[in-house]
Amino acid sequence: MFTKILFATTASPACDNAAKVAFDLELKWDAKLFVFHVLGIPSRGFSPFVTDVRTGESDQVDGDYIDWVKEEMRTTYASLLKDSDNSVIDAVVGVPAREILRKAREEDVDLIVMGAHTREEDVGATRYRQVVGSTMQKVAKSARCPVVIISRPCTTCWKLFSHIVVGLDFSKASASAFFFGLKLCKEVGARLHLFHAVDISANSNGPVTSQQEIEVKIKEARHKFDRLILPHLKDFDNYEVEIWEGTPYVEILKFARDRQADLIVMAHHAREIDPEKAWLGSTVEQVVLRASCPVASVNHPDKVAPQ
């Protein structure tokens, strides 16, 4: 299923968790792994200088500079490269999101693996900061393949897929998420857990929802599932469906924990808008922030639509 995987990295400790997952996937799927780093931004077109996006300092790019960066990356990932059969280290100058998407397109990768943000920080510090950095936002929006986001140490073993949770909100993007989850489960023999949360969170507009109204909404969701999802399952029977009420991101995390999920697959955004214009939804961000397993964001159906 994954023949080419792109691991976009800052080669800093913030990406260590994502690195472990990326190299695990390479081994599991016998895939070609591109370990890709984008350095600085040119101060003008064809300028010999790069600006370190973290420190703001200028440095001169010459023939040796890129090689030095690659050597640094080899050192950083030495222990993971030891067991790796088919990985390629690459570094380019440019705007990170643009270069990552260009590389993904050029190599026609099946999956992009990234860390959620470039800074290590206290749990408390994440409260007021953007969980998903600007690079991740742009990549998740435009990538034609699923983007796997890792923000915490992955305490599950991707070599032993057991449980995949797919969060459904019955939008077009969530249909793509479903197809990706189903395909993956069929490939690895994992159990597919389909989950929908009827949103009764305090932030919803309107009056307080009564128990009767909740039950009606749950029933409606069940009908939607039967109509939109069930026909695609066909003879695949290793799945379960859960629909309950609550704040979506809270309930997805609770469900994933309860089912000991190895992966959570979600639609990139909930609203029915042009995927080219949609930013990563707040539910995905909240799940990425707290999930103890990787989260896959799916925006475009290109790589996941059924044949």
């Binding site: 420190t55 749990v123 408390g124 510090a125 915490r152 305490t155 969170s201 000991q260 707290r290 103890s292």
Partner: protein, 188 residues
């Protein structure tokens, strides 16, 4: 029969004490009705206060569970934990502190202030994210200092004694515990 308050200190103005049984005490009176009025008061923890006491408070005052969307799920987990013996070795106590982070780059200079809930062992801070509630419930909780970091320097950190109000305590602990939930099945 109501428990005696600790006699070592008299009640302070604008202070609410959380007892080890989770009850809120405003002066020498136990808060029997809505706890909302106590949210802005300076919080004082009775000696012997443990994390289980925190959840006992949320049980005694269900309205407080609305401070965080994760509290109801955490309460469920607490109910499924053993009634005693829930403490991990390697953690002497839990501390709620505050961090003031002066950030210069990237973006415009700014000051971020947030709570930090962490473990303490032999004077060193320990991240508690990998621990489940069954490892934390019977560990003592204390209120810690405010740490001021300047431009990312985590070596020379200024520390100041600080105060917390009840809302900060509830919100800070709930925020931190919402990151827990490592599946027990596989720990690498």
């Amino acid at each position: 029969m109501p428990k005696d308050l600790c006699p070592a200190r008299g009640p302070s103005m604008n202070t609410v004490r959380i007892r080890t049984d989770g009850m809120l005490a405003d002066g020498d009176r136990v808060v029997q009705t809505s706890p909302l009025g106590c949210l802005g008061l300076k919080v004082d923890l009775e000696p012997g206060f443990i994390l289980r006491s925190f959840f006992a408070m949320v049980t005694a005052y269900p309205l407080l569970a609305e401070v965080s969307p994760f509290l109801p799920a955490l309460m469920e987990q607490v109910r499924s934990c053993p009634a005693s013996g829930c403490s991990a070795s390697g953690l002497q106590r839990l501390q709620l502190g505050r961090a003031v982070d002066m950030i210069g780059f990237p973006g415009p200079p700014r000051l971020e202030i947030y709570t930090v809930f962490q473990g303490i062992d032999l004077g060193n801070t320990v991240e508690i994210k990998p621990y489940g509630l069954e490892d934390l419930l019977d560990i003592g909780v204390e209120l810690g200092p405010t740490r001021h970091m300047v431009f990312g320097d985590k070596v020379d950190v200024f520390e100041f004694a600080s105060v917390f109000n009840l809302f900060e305590l509830i919100d800070g602990i709930a925020w931190s515990l919402s990151f827990h939930g490592t599946p027990r099945q596989c720990r690498i």
